[in-house]
């Protein structure tokens, strides 16, 4: 541990998990709002002909649950100082229930870093990576 490190569990605010059902109507709503009308996310011949045989949810829709969890814990500091670095690991095939988690890893020089992930109800990791946010005033 370097001089700037402190115990993450003691110093970083806890981030409560966010759980949400992602069904096709939610995916369709996201496609319109994002906007991202890629046919692979909607009930189209292209989605049916894909390797999954059905639409997949937008990765950014799944990632939005991580941002929601971080916002709930850190408020506007998240929007003003946050960082995210993730890799998608598996497709999200609606309907599914996604749980986003952020576990404190470290605090260095006033910046808290979390290990973040989203899993489906079977425990399959849909994405994982890290998030960080400055502690204190934004």
């Amino acid at each position: 541990m370097s001089g700037g490190d402190v115990n993450a569990a003691a110093a970083a605010p806890p981030v409560a998990p966010v759980m949400r059902e992602i069904d096709q109507p939610r995916v369709d709503a996201y496609a319109a709002a994002a906007p991202d009308q890629n046919p692979f996310h909607r009930e189209t011949p292209e989605a049916a002909a894909s390797q999954f045989g059905r639409p997949i949810a937008h990765g950014m829709l799944v990632l939005a649950l991580v941002s929601e969890a971080m916002t709930a814990a850190h408020g506007l500091r998240w929007a003003a100082t946050g960082t995210l670095k993730v890799r998608w690991r598996a497709p999200a095939l609606p309907p599914l229930t996604v749980t986003a988690r952020a576990e404190p890893r470290k605090v260095v020089d006033g910046v808290a870093t979390y290990d973040v992930s989203c899993e489906d109800e079977a425990g399959v990791v849909l994405l994982n990576g890290t998030a960080s946010v400055a502690l204190g005033d934004a």
Partner: protein, 135 residues
């Protein structure tokens, strides 16, 4: 909008700057779609909503190949953005390479406010699988 050919991109290519702002109605539609309930988004824009808009612009400008997969994403948020705040998005091709038959490209995005100050940015990495890249 007609797009740039994904295969012809090279590192350093820059897409035309484009304006971005999100209205209250657009933010409402976004948070209703994601399911988030947060009073902050009555006055401010969720940072990932901006990211989604930047990605949408990228897809408007670059004709992605069938089978393209969004594999990695980075964001850094530097200032909270308010509803209707005028912004400009700049996207650059950070890398474009073939690896084992797959095409992999990374796009760097910078979002600045009217004063030219950065409010956020990110890096999106996409991959075209070998079977699609060869077609």
């Amino acid at each position: 909008m007609s797009g740039l050919d994904f295969r012809s991109l090279t590192r350093g290519d820059t897409l035309p700057d484009f304006p971005l702002s999100m209205s209250a109605a657009e933010v409402r539609a976004y948070v209703q779609a994601t399911g988030e309930r947060c009073e902050l988004w009555e006055t401010h824009v969720p940072p990932l909503a901006l990211g989604a808009r930047a990605l949408a612009a990228l897809m408007d400008h670059v004709e992605l190949l069938a089978g393209t997969v969004h594999t990695r994403q980075e964001f850094d948020f530097r200032r909270a953005v308010t509803i209707d705040e005028p912004l400009t998005v700049r996207i650059t091709v950070a890398s474009h390479a073939e690896r084992r038959g797959a095409l992999i490209a990374a796009f760097q995005c910078e979002i600045v406010n009217a004063a030219g100050e950065p409010v956020g940015g990110g890096r999106a990495t996409v991959m075209v699988p070998p079977e699609e890249a060869a077609s």
